[in-house]
Subunit: 190 residues, 2 copies
């Protein structure tokens, strides 16, 4: 792997752990084992490198989620599998963290991949939910677009609650709750 990729990977980790404001070029270089010269040769600056790193993180988040959505099972099963997928809860979401970073939100170019990722996620969740309704796996008494946003929000908010408590349990409670609420809309088949 070239130095350029090592810089991107180092940046990906630090953006996940500390966000954009909390990550310095120096820290990125040290973790990558590269010097100043390398970084400013391959990238125009901190923002340019961060953008490359964010795009890769975003692609990974989408691929991980799509693996569940496109997998086997009924719609409610896939939603639950997405919610209960193994996660490093206290680290949180590689992309969602950036939505809380003032310098990311303020910069259209840096915010764009974050916006796209969550736009895509809500769209996919809504599609799965709508498919479940049309197949009769889920009752028709809710708006798939609204509940898709709810499911995505439970995951992101669950991370926040878990970090506040320094305990992953709260995340799992939040997931349990929405699974229970959704279960009331699953059509019984016996």
């Amino acid at each position: 792997m070239g130095t350029r990729d090592q810089l991107i990977d180092s940046s990906r980790e630090l953006l996940w752990e500390r966000g954009y404001v909390g990550t310095s070029p120096k820290a990125i270089q040290q973790r990558a084992g590269a010097g100043q010269g390398s970084m400013y040769h391959h990238f125009t600056g901190k923002a340019d490198l961060a953008l490359a790193a964010i795009r890769r993180n975003a692609a990974e988040v989408r691929a991980d989620a799509e693996a569940v959505f496109a997998g086997p099972g009924t719609a409610p099963e896939r939603i639950e599998r997405y919610l209960r997928r193994e996660r490093d809860v206290l680290r949180g979401c590689r992309v969602g963290r950036l939505a809380h970073d003032p310098d990311i939100v303020a910069d259209a170019a840096l915010r764009q991949p974050v916006e796209e990722t969550f736009g895509w996620l809500r769209g996919r969740l809504a599609a799965v939910l709508a498919e479940g309704q049309s197949r009769g796996e889920l009752a028709a008494g809710f708006d798939p677009v609204a509940v898709a946003a709810t499911v995505a929000a439970v995951v992101q908010g669950g991370y926040a609650l878990a970090r506040a408590a320094n305990d992953p349990a709260t995340f799992h409670h939040a997931v349990d709750g929405v699974v229970q609420l959704l279960a009331a809309h699953a059509t019984t088949r016996e």
Copy 2:
């Protein structure tokens, strides 16, 4: 209002807007109209001032929420009123934002008021939900503790989605979704 209070208020605003890592003592002083000397006379440093500011923000968050929980109405009505309360969505939660700040989470003293606030919030939500079940306003088919975490997570996650999209609409979708899901558990009375 004394200089000390102006420094705290200035810090409260900046912590809300930019988080702890993104807020400098200099910025706090300028917004407060105070000099270096004042700040370091009243507080031992950035962390000390931040702690005072966080505690006030936390108290305000709790008071705002309690006003709804202790108000009139059935349990599901109060939960919905809490969710639909007027909010400055794109600014997000004064306390929740800090759960994403690496230097807050890493410092036990700074994290404590954040943990307490969300512990309290989940407890109050759970109490309202349990009360609703015991009064027969809500069906018994869910765990109040789990759904309390879900409701709190929807709010925090809704802020994250809205900031990612730079559009408050997503927050309201997430709220709509959980209200719709919860409605299936409300006992019909006619």
